[in-house]
Symmetry: C2
Subunit: 884 residues, 2 copies
């Protein structure tokens, strides 16, 4: 390793060596401090030791002399600028030391503040600040921090000593300790450090500084950091930088203050400066909430009858306004800033892009276009697609207090509160009385549909993101928390037990379907709202979007809604959902229980007119837009009863013996239904099922054609593993459609395509494409099979997986790009190699996830399809992907 | 399309245009007829119209004149050689017409015999043959065949007429009809053909011939043939050839005969001519078994007191001997021949490689080396690896009569008969009394082990090829039929119902574990036997083999056996099987029921010494050969009770409340266990489980090292989906092994590798290889996930899938090369791209399947691993793959 050309970078008002572009050398933090300094924003001066030097650090030896010399020079530059001297008895310079790698990384060393204090300099600080208490309190905090982080001492030892002293004195808060107490503590702490570590607490500031710098470099090689890097493919050689910065204090008396502010209102987006401050306080005091912060502007403060910074420190305020305007103009975005006023002098400690609500984000993006700050493309990138969900569903009031009971799967977004009921009947009864209820079930089944309609929200203790409850609730746009494993329902006792809480019918709970959280009692919610900015913004986004956005919808109601959200067709109509209707489910069961093809065809004949009218209605609603209809997919046992009680009821209803029904249930039982007799496999064994569905589609299309209604039916065959399945079923469907066309003397175009949802289909997509007019990736099932991971069962360990870094995100929420994504890419490329105009889309949950959508754009898909409420999110995400 | 250079190929004694190399033009059949003729073997002369002409055929027009002219010429050549004339009233030439494509293909036209007969030529045939009956019977058969195959008439119409006539006459057999009856039938048939098809039956031989030739070409485009070609990727343009060959008759009197023979004994391999014949008979009479055929050689006939061909027709016999010797010398293999003697003249109708028993195959291969007929490589290719199974397990006596009850899955090979018992206790009791029993269960569980040991065979009604019963039985080398879906066990009534049969305890059944068939009563079996030829042959095969062959074994007994079969290590030791032992299973359950890590570790501490001794024993048996130990794989619920009765018993045994046990069973329940919380996922959530196993392996290794025993432990982590899982678990295992090495002051090499059994692992094998010392493809699970097909559930529709041609073979038996095989290839190539010396093997059922082994050789795997009894099969298959 050779000595680098440059490795210490000063930042200060008059001389700054780095800028934001040098992130690799300076780390994220160092680069940002330099950038602000360059802008002539007052930042406490300091310097960054570059990441190159990390390589020279070795636990057992010192850093090279040339590093020490250069750091000493930089320190002198800082001293000159702040007019203080490191280790000076009269006017000592104190510094903070922080790590800062190219990317933020857990396991790395945290901050050391107040470095440079010792028994001598503490006196100078006392004099200069005019507060002995402030000086000694800073000193004892420094010893606590340093002995823990740098010297590796068990920090609880000093904490105990502090608590013992307070107990002795009968005091409650640290701030009640006297100066003498603090002096005593410093002495005691130093002795304990010696006892515990065998090392004297370093007295000279130089020793302290080198200790802290070494500790930062050492933390790069901590076990936790190494594991994190392995899991996140971060290069060992990157190293960390070290930031050394002079301290400023907002708690040096009544001419000092500290505060945080936003350059525009983060809730509404209004172009008004907005923030809070505290006089004679440190940064953490504003956050801690012990004292009530005061508003910054006069306008705001007057409403609350408080004194504003504008009035209390008009000069500092004026300066702050200049700075925030400069920062917003520079960064071209709303900023979240932190500042400190030390003895009337304003210092900026941080600026970053401010978080905002979706409503504010839309307004700010549109306003900034009008202000000529950004262009349309930039504006589109400024709004998080996910945040649009807030505008379409109620959400929890962020300010409302809450008692969290547990967390399940965020199965369908929104926030609701209501009384618990355990049966569909109770839900309907309560709804009639105008009561708002939450239906709580172990899992739901088709019999619960009316209860799900009546309830405001649904909570299930079993089942995953694709369970009946989850899928139906998302279709309805109704809040649902599913698979809440820590909850237990006892229908007999009528109780819902969640850990130590036992709830009964009528008790109120609140669900947050966007996070999966369940709360005790009523937590206030905020109603959704869209305004003109939404319309304007979405229209603008559509201009740049190149991928189509369709919806997953099975009913005219959902399709209508999705169209109003901008859906450009139906990408997935799951025909099995049509089979669950109360007037149909028993006919479906008769079909399943049929002895032989002839009897099965009889039941199918009854279903034919119902299915025909389903499709007719969808074609009418979608009025010429493509409608992709997936033929029957789930295993037949899903339509049969799951309990003995249900079985008795159903046997009576359809007039078969309970023995026969039970025998069929047993015969159809599967060990792994996900990998069982479903999808196109049903039609290879019972072709008459798909034949009926193809006939219903063709008859509906024929009726539309006769009425002059244009339409594009796309018939989609699920779970294809081999080209041969598609050869056989395409022939069946084509034959049926042609028959209907000839019977009805109509002619219409239609397409026959397939889901690509099994690894084998993606791997042999070139063979399959020969017989397919389009592909639609079923990434839910492709994830389940590609990863060998059952969505309904993964809940039990997926948390550990995400926490330990094995998965960056839940692969069912955001597509696993390196694994499952590889299959999507292979499938698309192979498919188009055989048929270059092959239309390729994706249906399933990933079609509504922004990160996945960006990936799909990179693969070159033609469209994504998602649930109705996610259509706006998908539109924006697709636009962003196109712009990027 | 242009007229081809040559398109009609004569075959005859003195002039033959084609040979075996022209298969594409002549089809398989035509090429073989030409080859025999070229060898100067007497074959009835004829000609082949090449596949090129198929393209010129069009349903609505005639074939071009130049085709007709050329066929006429060829026909004249045939006439000249047989000294008969097509359509001649005195001495008519009769021909057969057959289709023949490059590959044999269902849906293609079958044979037409006796073409050329009409009201005139039938007289000539009667005169020439000296039998009016023979002539008219041939004529009426010809009309039946031709009207059905060529004219598309419903053949049952003529069948009915024939049956009616026999009923009128009160006759039983066709052969009882008089000449007058036959004449009447011919007339009647012709009228019916006219009535039914509206066309006159063609009277001139030319018309008949062109009709038949057109029908062959037309059959190339039948729906069935087209579908078959699509499913089997056969090119439309290949076309079929047409073979026209002069007829010869073995039923022209007592100077005529027909027979079949083998050039060596197909049961024993002895080099002795062996066969049967009938005087005055047609080919099908030998097969039909109405008359008892006579042996061909004097030696054989004398034993049976019958007249041999050698004695009855010494000249023809002598000629036959010359021919068979010529054919064997030419084809260099044992031949199965068919011949006809027409009025003392010998004609060969077919020669093909003769089927033989495994025992015969080994002897013939070795003998032919000694005879300098073939070399070692050729000899190795001559024995079907699958057939070796016959030598290691008892098999059904092929001659024994049988009543088949049903067919389940061929879970473990062999054939056994015995009395039915339904419980393990009954099995043990019967075994003590010396009775042979078959244990019949819905499915087996670890509690049934003692009963499985006591029984001769096992039959289950549920579960697949990897069910408990199947896996344990294969390990024991015990016959098992699993997942017999048509069978129902009622434990309460003590009955086994199979379709209409109700069997009770004590009733005898027979199982064929190699086919999955179940028979009523006792079917005789043949004991297995190996002799010196087996040893000699296998040693020779090993010389050429390049892939290693290991075994899947979990016990010292299995490992010992596998070693005796030639296993070169253990490729898969499934540690979970060790957990099922009666003294362990409850400790395992305590571990599962533990509250928290501390309690779990207590139970694991009890398991540690048991596991240690397991591994110690394996290392001792394998004595320095590699032993691959897979850490715990199945989901924990597999160790918990499945019924309430079991639960009560177990709760008492391990001293927990039944409520607690039931709660745990419920909590661990999974919708898709195959895709659930299993494999390495268990260790990501409960690292202490793998830590215990790694410690046990290391402790066992340390003991071995101290005793001077060499060993190569390979620790295998299952179900890896991401490199990150392996990073975490490799660290855990390494740390543990190092701890033990330091505690025991030992040092030994070990390897840490992973199963590649999920598509994602194969797709990202380059990332995973960085942390793996070896890969072992778990192709069972890779097939399940790659195809989205649960092995335990697929039984219900896999039959339909194989029958309809979607799968060529059961993909769990022989690897799906285009899909799952692609993953194996990608995984291997990617893995070696990251680590070029990566050792790659395969464990799981495909490791013992010859076709799969050939594929693995082509991918470049280092070894295969299979169950002990398949080791010899794998050795031979691997040798063949290397030779090819």
């Amino acid at each position: 390793m050779n000595k680098p050309e440059k490795f210490v970078y000063l930042f200060s008002e008059d001389k700054t060596d780095g800028d934001a572009s040098l992130r690799n050398a300076l780390g994220g933090k160092g680069a940002n401090l330099a950038e602000m300094s360059k802008l002539q924003v007052p930042v406490p001066p300091g310097f960054t030791i570059s990441t190159d030097i990390c390589a020279f650090y070795n636990k057992d030896t010192d850093l090279p002399d040339w590093v020490k010399a250069e750091v000493k020079n930089a320190l002198a530059e800082v001293e000159k600028r702040v007019n203080k001297k490191f280790g000076d008895a009269e006017n000592p310079l104190l510094v903070s030391v922080r790590s800062g790698a190219r990317v933020s990384m857990p396991g790395m060393m945290d901050t050391i503040l107040n470095l440079g204090l010792n028994d001598t300099t503490v006196q100078g600080l006392a004099t200069k600040s005019g507060s002995e208490r402030f000086a000694w309190d800073s000193y004892r905090r420094f010893i606590q921090m340093y002995s823990d982080v740098v010297m590796g001492m068990n920090h609880s030892l000093l904490d105990v000593a502090l608590e013992d002293l307070k107990a002795d004195r009968g005091l409650e808060n640290d701030s009640d300790l006297s100066v003498e107490d603090l002096k005593g503590l410093v002495k005691l702490f130093k002795n304990q450090v010696l006892d515990s570590t065998g090392k004297k607490f370093p007295e000279t500031p130089e020793e302290q500084l080198w200790g802290a710098i070494s500790a930062v470099f050492e933390s790069w090689n901590s076990d936790r950091a190494i594991t994190y890097r392995k899991l996140n493919d971060i290069d060992e050689s990157w190293g960390t930088a070290v930031n050394v910065q002079s301290m400023v204090f907002g708690n040096m008396g009544n001419d000092s203050a500290t505060g945080v502010a936003f350059t525009r209102n983060p809730s509404t987006g209004e172009k008004k400066f907005y923030g809070e401050f505290l006089i004679n306080a440190q940064g953490e005091d504003v956050v801690a909430g012990i004292r009530t912060p005061q508003p910054i502007t006069k306008e705001e403060a007057s409403e609350k009858n408080m004194l504003s910074l504008e009035e209390a420190m008009p000069e500092a305020f004026q300066k702050l306004v200049e700075i925030y305007e400069k920062l917003e103009a520079h960064y071209k975005d709303m900023q979240d800033i932190e500042f400190t006023i030390e003895q009337n002098r304003l210092w900026m400690l941080q600026t970053r892009t401010g978080k905002r609500t979706a409503k504010a984000a839309l307004k700010i993006a549109c306003d900034m276009i009008d202000e000529n700050l950004i262009d349309e493309k930039e504006a589109i990138l400024r709004v998080s697609p996910e945040s649009l969900d807030q505008l379409l569903h109620p959400s929890l009031d962020p300010k409302a207090e809450r008692t969290k009971l547990t967390k399940g799967l965020p199965a369908s977004p929104g926030a609701v509160n209501g009384k618990i009921v355990f049966t569909s009947d109770d839900a309907e009864e309560a709804a009639k009385k105008g009561e708002e209820v939450i239906l709580v079930r172990t899992e739901t089944s088709p019999e619960d549909i009316s209860g799900m309609i009546a309830a405001k929200g649904i909570l299930t203790t079993r089942g995953g993101m694709t369970s009946h409850a989850a899928v139906v609730a998302r279709g309805m746009g109704k809040c649902c928390v599913a698979g809440c494993a820590e909850a237990n329902v006892d229908y007999t006792k009528g109780t819902l037990r969640i850990l130590n809480h036992e709830l009964h019918k009528g008790d109120v709970i609140t669900l947050d379907g966007s996070t999966g959280e369940v709360f005790l009692g009523e937590v206030a919610t905020i109603a959704p709202s869209v305004d003109g900015y939404f319309e304007r913004f979405m229209k603008m986004a559509d201009k740049y979007r190149t991928m189509g956005v369709r919806c997953n919808a099975d009913t005219p109601h959902d399709s209508e809604m999705a169209k109003s959200f901008g859906a450009e067709g139906i990408g997935l109509c799951r025909t099995e959902h049509m089979f669950f209707g109360p007037e149909r489910i028993n006919v479906v069961r008769e079909m399943i229980l049929a002895d032989g093809e002839l009897e099965r065809r009889k039941a199918l004949d009854l279903l034919l007119p119902m299915q025909k009218s389903d499709f007719y209605d969808l074609f009418k609603v979608m009025a010429g837009l493509p409608v992709t209809i997936r033929l029957l997919d789930p295993p037949l046992h899903e339509f049969l009863p799951h309990t003995e009680d249900e079985a008795v009821e159903i046997a009576a209803a359809i007039g078969v013996s309970i023995d026969k029904l039970n025998t069929k249930v047993k015969a159809l039982h599967e060990f792994n239904p996900m990998l069982g007799h479903r999808g196109c496999r049903l039609a290879i064994t019972y072709p008459e099922i798909y034949e009926m569905q193809a006939r219903a589609i063709a008859l509906a299309a024929a009726d539309c054609v006769k009425e002059g209604q244009t339409l594009i039916p796309e018939i989609m065959i699920p779970l294809i593993a081999t080209d041969k399945e598609l050869v056989i079923l395409r022939e069946l469907v084509e034959k049926t459609v042609k028959e209907v066309q000839s019977e009805t003397k109509t002619d219409f175009d239609y397409r026959i395509g397939t889901m690509i949802e099994l690894p084998r289909a993606a791997l042999t997509a070139d063979e399959i494409a020969k017989d397919a007019d389009f592909f639609s990736f079923g990434t839910n099932d492709l994830t389940q099979t590609g990863l060998g991971l059952s969505r309904d069962d993964a809940g039990k360990f997926l948390g550990t997986y995400v926490n330990s870094g094995v998965f960056e995100k839940d692969p069912f929420v955001s597509i696993d790009q390196r694994g499952v994504g590889k299959l999507v890419k292979m499938g698309t490329d192979l498919g188009r190699s055989a048929k270059n105009n092959l239309k390729v889309g994706v249906c399933g949950e990933h079609g509504g996830d922004p990160a996945s959508i960006e990936f799909f754009q990179s693969v070159g898909l033609d469209y994504v399809s998602c649930s109705p409420y996610r259509v706006p999110i998908a539109r924006l995400a697709a636009a962003q992907a196109a712009v990027k």
